[in-house]
C-alpha cells in the first residue's frame, strides 16, 4: 500500500460493515464486466528515493549552463529567494479557490493586492485574479471587445508575438471573426495601414509594447483613432518594461494584457505562467475570470470575497463571459510578492538597469564586423541585429560556445533569415556581454 493511503485492514473491515457491503469490489458493481479495462499496463510503484533518482537524471539531461539571450516574450530575470520561500508555504499552495471567504482571507487579500499591483502597473482601473498566460489573456481581451461592441472585425499589428496571434486564430476558428493584420515597417506599426482598416465593423485594435522586435512606441494615437471608430484598444505589455515605459492607461487603452512570467516566475520550459488582464472600470462586467472585492463582515470589519460571480461559468454556464475555472493563482501570488519586494523604487531601478545593459550590448555588438544593430526605433531590453549570414547557423555555433544567442526571426517572419532577436536582462553581466561579443566575432570569422 502506498504511504498516501492510511487505511489498515481493520479500518477497511469496519468501513465496509458500516456501508453494508462485503468487499470493496461491491462498491464498483455499477461498472459491468464488459466495461472493465482491456488493459492497465502501468509499471509497478517505486519508492520516493527511486523516483527522485530517475527524475533527477532527467533534469541532468537538460542544459542549464548556457548564458541566455533568448527572450521573445519569456525572460530570464532574477527571482529573489523570498518569492520561493513564501509561495512554497503549503497553506497557500494546498488550498483551492477561496469559495468560502471566512476560511480563505489570506488568499483573498493576496489576490486583492495582486489586482491592485496589476492596476498600478498598467494604469488601469480593475484587474482580474489571473488567466492562464499572456496568449489566452489576449484572446479573452479580443472576445471582450467583440461582446462589448457587437462587432466582429479585429485589427492585429504584426508586432504582436506570433505565438499569440496564432493562438487568437486557433481559438476563433469556429466563430465568425475577421482578423486583419497590419505590418510593422522599420520596427514601427504602420499607422496608415491601421487607419485604412479601422471602420464601423471593427471591434478592437491590438498592438504590443515593446513589440516582438523589441521596439517601444507611444500608441496614444492608435488608441484615440480606435475610439473615434467606436472600437476598443487593446495593448499587450511586458510588465518589467512598465517600470519605465508609458502605461496602457496613460496611452488611453481600454484593456491591457500580458505574460506575467517575468514577475518572479521561473521559465520552467513553458509553464506554469501567468496571464494578467486589466481594464477600464466600465468594462468590468464583461471581464473573464475570478475577481476579488472588498466588503465588510457582520461587525462592519473589512473583509474580502470573490465577487461579480454572475459573469462566471459555475453560475452562468453557457452564458458565462468565459469558461475559465482554475486559473494561475499561485503564479499571481508570486507576482505580487515579487512586486512588493521590488516596490515603486526597485521596479524603476530594475527597468533602468535592463535598458542600460541592452544599450551597452548594442554598442559593443555593432562594432562586430558584419553585424548591424537595428536602430530605427528605441527599444527596452530586447533588440534585433542583422547578421552577415543565416541566424540559425550562427545560433547553432554559439550554443557550442556556451550561449543561447537569441531567437532567429526567420522562424516566424519570412525574409528575416539573417535576423536575430536578443534579450539582455539584468542578469547579464558586462563580462558575459564582452565574452559574447568575442565569441560572435569568432563564429562569424569562421
Amino acid at each position: 500500500m502506498s504511504n498516501y493511503v492510511p487505511h489498515t485492514a481493520k479500518d477497511i473491515r469496519e468501513m465496509l460493515e458500516a456501508i453494508g457491503v462485503k468487499s470493496i469490489d461491491d462498491l464498483f458493481r455499477d461498472i459491468a464486466p464488459a466495461l472493465r479495462p482491456k488493459s492497465f499496463d502501468i509499471p509497478e510503484g517505486k519508492s520516493e528515493f527511486e523516483v527522485c533518482r530517475s527524475v533527477q537524471k532527467l533534469a541532468g539531461k537538460n542544459a542549464t549552463d548556457l548564458t541566455n539571450f533568448v527572450g521573445a516574450g519569456f525572460y530570464d530575470h532574477y527571482i529573489p529567494a523570498a518569492v520561493d520561500a513564501l509561495a512554497s508555504r503549503s497553506e497557500f499552495y494546498t488550498a483551492y479557490t477561496p469559495y468560502q471567504p471566512e476560511s480563505s482571507q489570506g488568499w483573498l487579500r493576496a489576490i486583492y493586492e495582486y489586482q491592485t499591483a496589476v492596476c498600478e502597473l498598467t494604469g488601469l482601473d480593475v484587474a482580474n485574479a489571473s488567466l492562464y498566460d499572456g496568449g489566452t489573456a489576449l484572446y479573452e481581451a479580443a472576445m471582450m471587445a467583440v461582446r462589448l461592441t457587437g462587432r466582429h472585425k479585429i485589427i492585429v499589428d504584426q508586432g504582436v508575438n506570433l505565438i499569440y496571434r496564432t493562438m487568437l486564430y486557433t481559438y476563433t476558428t469556429n466563430l465568425s471573426i475577421e482578423f486583419v493584420e497590419t505590418p510593422v515597417v522599420h520596427g514601427q506599426s504602420a499607422r496608415a495601414e491601421i487607419l485604412k482598416h479601422l471602420d464601423d465593423r471593427t471591434a478592437a485594435v491590438i498592438v504590443q509594447n515593446p513589440n516582438f522586435f523589441g521596439a517601444i512606441d507611444d500608441y496614444t494615437d492608435v488608441a484615440s483613432k480606435a475610439h473615434a471608430a467606436g472600437a476598443l484598444a487593446i495593448l499587450s505589455v511586458y510588465p518589467i518594461a512598465l517600470g519605465m515605459l508609458k502605461s496602457p492607461g496613460e496611452m488611453g487603452f481600454d484593456i491591457a494584457t500580458g505574460e506575467g512570467q517575468s514577475l518572479g516566475i521561473p521559465l520552467s520550459f513553458g509553464g506554469p505562467y501567468l496571464g494578467f488582464m486589466a481594464c477600464k472600470q466600465e468594462l468590468v462586467r464583461q471581464m473573464p475570470g475570478r475577481i476579488v472585492g472588498a466588503t465588510v463582515d457582520s461587525d462592519g470589519k473589512r473583509g474580502f470575497v470573490l465577487t461579480l460571480q454572475t459573469r462566471e461559468q459555475h453560475i452562468r454556464r453557457e452564458k458565462a463571459t468565459s469558461n475559465i475555472c482554475s486559473n494561475e493563482a499561485l503564479c499571481a501570488l508570486r507576482a505580487v510578492i515579487y512586486l512588493s519586494l521590488m516596490g515603486k523604487t526597485g521596479l524603476k531601478e530594475l527597468a533602468r538597469l535592463n535598458y542600460d545593459k541592452a544599450e551597452f550590448a548594442k554598442s559593443i555588438l555593432e562594432k562586430v564586423p558584419g553585424v548591424t544593430v537595428k536602430r530605427t526605433s528605441p527599444t527596452f531590453n530586447e533588440f534585433t541585429i542583422c547578421l552577415p549570414r543565416n541566424a540559425d547557423d550562427v545560433v547553432h555555433k554559439m550554443i557550442d560556445k556556451g550561449f543561447a544567442a537569441g531567437f532567429p526571426l526567420g522562424r516566424f517572419y519570412k525574409g528575416l533569415d539573417n535576423y536575430l532577436l536578443m534579450a539582455v536582462t539584468e542578469k547579464r553581466t558586462r563580462e558575459e556581454l564582452m565574452k559574447f561579443r568575442d565569441s560572435l566575432e569568432a563564429v562569424l570569422c569562421d
Partner: protein, 493 residues
C-alpha cells in the same frame, strides 16, 4: 490586518539591485516614458515575509485541514514532487531552447518527461494519443471541443449542437458555447441518470458531441454509458469525457475502452498536484485514433534513435492552444506521482476514495436527505433540505464546519439538488478524520433541531465573521487606492 500597500513607507527597500556594471545610457524620448510611477509598496524584505507568512495562516488548506470540497479532489499533495519540480535542471530551461538549431539536444530531459507522461495517460485512459498542452481542466474542454469541430469540419460540416446533461460542471456548457456551439441541456431523471427519452429526442445529425462527466456530479456511474455512447456514434456525433472525476475510475474503467473520443484529465485532481489556491492546474487531452491528426502543435515525438523532438509539421492540427508544451512544472509532478504509485497504487487510490465517500454517505444518511441514495463513487451528494425547514441552510452548515476546523464541502452544486452538499473525502484521509467530520455533521443535524441560531451565527473563530457578498457585488471595490474609501486600520501586524 493592513494590506501590503498600507505598509508603504517612503525610503524602505525590499530588494537590493546590483550596481550597474555598464554606463548609463541616454533615455529614449519622454513620450515613450511613464509620467506616473506604479505605486507599488516600498517595504522591507521582512515586511513582505511577515505579511505573506501571516496571510498564509489565514487560509484553510489540505496540509492544515480536512478539505472535502466535492468535485475538486483535494487529496494530499506529496512533497517530493514539489522538490523535483523545483530542480534547476527543469526550472531554468527556456521554452524556446528546443526550437533553436541545436537546442533539442539540450532539452532531452524535459521532452522525455512530456513524452512519457503522455504515454502513461494513454494507458490509464485507453486513449490513442494525448496532448499535455491544455493549462487547466476547462482549457482542456475548450481544446477538446475545438478538436471535435475540426474533425466534423474535415468531414464536411462542423455541426451545430453539443449535448450536456443538466448535472454537468458549468465549464462544459461554457466551453461548448465559447467554441461556437449551441448547447442542448438534457434533464436528469428520478434515479439520477440522464433522461434517455429526452436524450434520444435531441440527438440528431447536427449533434457534434455529447459531453459527459463520468462518474457524474452526483457521484454516480451511469450503467447505460455504453448505450449513450453507441447512440451518439450512430448519428455521427463524438463522445466527450469530462475526466474531472477520474479519481473514481483508475484501473476500474477506461473511457477509451467504452468508446469515448475525447477526454480531459485534471492533473491537479486525480494526479495529486496542488491546487495552488485556484491554480495552476493542467488539463491534458486524450483522443481516439480518428482525432489524433487534429491535436495541437507542437507534438512531442520519439525518434527512431531514441531521442525526443518537437514536431510542428501536422497540417490537420488545430494549431497553437498554448504558447508551449503545457504547464510543465505541473505535468512533472503528476509524472513523478504516477511513477511512485504505480499500477497497484493507482487502483488503491480509486478504491479507497470510493470507500471513504461511501462511508460518509452511509453514516450520514440517517441525519441528512440523500436525493439519490445508492452506492456512490468518489463523492456523495447530501441535501440540507430537512435542516432548511428549521432555517439551517447548506451555507450555514458550511460556516459552522469552518468553526470546527473543517474546510466545508461544496455547496449548492450540483444545482439540480436543493440545498446540495457535495462531499469528496479522497483516499488520503484516515478513518479517524472521517469519523470526526461525520460526528460534527451529526452534531449539526441535532443542533439544527434544538438550536439553529448557533449554527446561523457561525463562523466566530475566523479573522472575519460572515461577509456581505451583496455589498461586494453592488458597490465593487476591486483594488486598493492611496486615498481610497477604506481607512487604514490601526497599525498591528
Amino acid at each position: 490586518m493592513r494590506l501590503i500597500f498600507e505598509k508603504n513607507v517612503e525610503g524602505r527597500r525590499g530588494i537590493k539591485i546590483q550596481a550597474p556594471d555598464v554606463p548609463a545610457a541616454k533615455l529614449p524620448d519622454g513620450k515613450y516614458l511613464r509620467k506616473t510611477a506604479a505605486h507599488l509598496p516600498d517595504v522591507s524584505e521582512l515586511d513582505v515575509v511577515r505579511h505573506y507568512t501571516n496571510l498564509s495562516r489565514m487560509n484553510y488548506s489540505v496540509d492544515t485541514n480536512f478539505y472535502p470540497l466535492g468535485s475538486c479532489t483535494m487529496k494530499y499533495n506529496p512533497k517530493f514532487t514539489e522538490a523535483l519540480a523545483s530542480l534547476e535542471g527543469f526550472t531554468a530551461v527556456h521554452p524556446l531552447l528546443p526550437q533553436l538549431a541545436g537546442g533539442g539536444a539540450l532539452t532531452q530531459g524535459s521532452l522525455e518527461v512530456l513524452y512519457h507522461t503522455k504515454k502513461l495517460l494513454c494507458e490509464i485512459t485507453g486513449m490513442a494519443d494525448f496532448t499535455t498542452q491544455p493549462l487547466a481542466g476547462a482549457h482542456g474542454e475548450l481544446t477538446g471541443v475545438m478538436l471535435i469541430a475540426a474533425y466534423h469540419r474535415h468531414h464536411g460540416s462542423r455541426r451545430k449542437y453539443i449535448i450536456v446533461p443538466d448535472s454537468s460542471h458549468g465549464t462544459n456548457p461554457a466551453s461548448a458555447a465559447i467554441a461556437g456551439y449551441q448547447v442542448v441541456v438534457i434533464p436528469t431523471d428520478k434515479d439520477g441518470y440522464m433522461n434517455m427519452v429526452e436524450y434520444k429526442k435531441q440527438l440528431n445529425d447536427q449533434t457534434a458531441a455529447v459531453m459527459l462527466t463520468c462518474p457524474d456530479t452526483l457521484g454516480i456511474f451511469n450503467p447505460r454509458i455504453k448505450e449513450i455512447t453507441d447512440l451518439a456514434h450512430a448519428v455521427g456525433a463524438l463522445m466527450y469525457y469530462d475526466g474531472a472525476n477520474m479519481n473514481a475510475m483508475l484501473g476500474k474503467c477506461r473511457p477509451g475502452d467504452i468508446g469515448f473520443d475525447v477526454i480531459h484529465l485534471n492533473l491537479h485532481k486525480t494526479f495529486a498536484t496542488p491546487h495552488g489556491g485556484g491554480g495552476p492546474g493542467a488539463g491534458p487531452v486524450g483522443v481516439s485514433e480518428k482525432l489524433v491528426d487534429f491535436l495541437p502543435i507542437a507534438r512531442v515525438v520519439k525518434r527512431s534513435d531514441g531521442t525526443f523532438a518537437l514536431d510542428y509539421h501536422r497540417h490537420k492540427s488545430i494549431g497553437y492552444i498554448a504558447p508551449f508544451y503545457g504547464n510543465f512544472g505541473v505535468i512533472l509532478k503528476a509524472y513523478a506521482y504516477i511513477l511512485m504509485l504505480g499500477r497497484q497504487g493507482l487502483i488503491e487510490a480509486t478504491e479507497y476514495a470510493v470507500l471513504n465517500a461511501n462511508y460518509c454517505r452511509a453514516r450520514l444518511k440517517e441525519y441528512y436527505d440523500i436525493p439519490y441514495d445508492r452506492i456512490c463513487m468518489h463523492e456523495c451528494v447530501l441535501s440540507a433540505s430537512r435542516q432548511a425547514r428549521n432555517g439551517v441552510r447548506a451555507v450555514d452548515i458550511a460556516k459552522y464546519l469552518i468553526d470546527k476546523g473543517f474546510h466545508p464541502m461544496t455547496i449548492y452544486f450540483p444545482m439540480i439538488v436543493r440545498e446540495s452538499m457535495m462531499i469528496e473525502p479522497t483516499e488520503t484521509e484516515s478513518k479517524e478524520t472521517l469519523d470526526l467530520f461525520i460526528e460534527t455533521m451529526i452534531e449539526i443535524a441535532r443542533l439544527a433541531e434544538t438550536d439553529p441560531e448557533t449554527i446561523r451565527r457561525a463562523p466566530l473563530t475566523r479573522p472575519v465573521k460572515r461577509l456581505d457578498e451583496t455589498r461586494a457585488a453592488r458597490e465593487p471595490n476591486l483594488r486598493w487606492r492611496p486615498n481610497g474609501v477604506w481607512q487604514a486600520e490601526a497599525p498591528g501586524n
